[in-house]
Amino acid sequence: MVRSARMLLIVASLIVTLGCARDLRREPTEMTALDASEIRVIRVAEAVTVSLDSGYSRSIAAGSQWRSVGQISMGTVFKPVGQVFSIEGAHVHEAYLVLQGNNLVAFYLPGERKVNALGTPVVIKAN
């Protein structure tokens, strides 16, 4: 009986832990749309995995294409082409890449007009 109760407690703790991911750190930001002449499409050459401050990680697939759509103070914002991309914490957020040169420095959350900055930039090999 004691063993069953202990087992139940462990399972319950596990479920609570799994079900309560940390929320992503998000800051409001303003995006300025790019002129048509500034828009470009990049293609990711090598897949990368990005660790989020929520504890989750997210992969950016090799071959995925991204179109520049705007500028924020941290860099240029790229929206996925023909795909939907999201990042996850306590909740799920549609997300675009924010690049400074070849470095992924943040995710822009278009549904909230907020940004989730990465602690450490991640190099994106793209062409």
């Binding site: 069953s4 319950a12 479920i15 609570v16 799994l18 079900g19 309560c20 023909g82 795909q83 939907v84 999201s86 306590a90 909740h91 799920v92 957020h93 549609e94 959350l109 278009p110 549904g111 909230e112 007009r113």
Partner: protein
């Protein structure tokens, strides 16, 4: 003995749930109205997975009830371009935030995650190709509004 029977009853109750009934996408999509120029369409669906089949919950689109997450069903809502939030609460609430552009179609899949008592309905954004494949055998149940 009694705890074992009770546990089994809970597990069976969690798993058993009837799939929704209604026409398939191939039978109804042609009858859906064309989008207005300033609007986008959001599809909501849940596959026929039997995990947590009996768990259902209301789906809210930016605070407005638009339908229920039920096993094997789909429906849609047309809305003006803008920022939206989808939530479905059972014992905890998990939300999805996204932007909807004019003429765009977004897909939200809900599924049942592990919960302490009844399981949690979790919404997620899905790519068009995957969503269309998922939805092919689901039943259209219509939105609340």
């Amino acid at each position: 003995m009694l705890p074992r029977i009770l546990s089994m009853t809970v597990v069976v109750a969690f798993l058993v749930g009837c799939a929704a009934t209604g026409p398939k996408p191939s039978e109804v999509k042609a009858s859906f109205p064309e989008l207005a120029a300033d609007q986008g369409r959001i599809y909501f669906y849940r596959t026929k997975s039997i995990f947590g089949a009996a768990v259902t919950a209301e789906i809210r689109l930016s605070g407005e009830a638009v339908g229920r997450s039920t096993r094997g069903s789909f429906f849609y809502a047309d809305r003006p371009a803008g920022n939206y939030e989808v939530a479905s609460s059972t014992e905890t609430e998990k939300k999805v935030t996204f932007v909807l552009e004019a003429g765009e179609t977004k897909y939200i899949r809900t599924y049942v995650g592990l919960g302490l008592i009844v399981g949690r309905i979790i919404p997620e954004l899905v790519n068009t190709e995957e969503a269309e494949k998922d939805m092919a055998e689901l039943a259209y149940v219509g939105a609340t509004k």
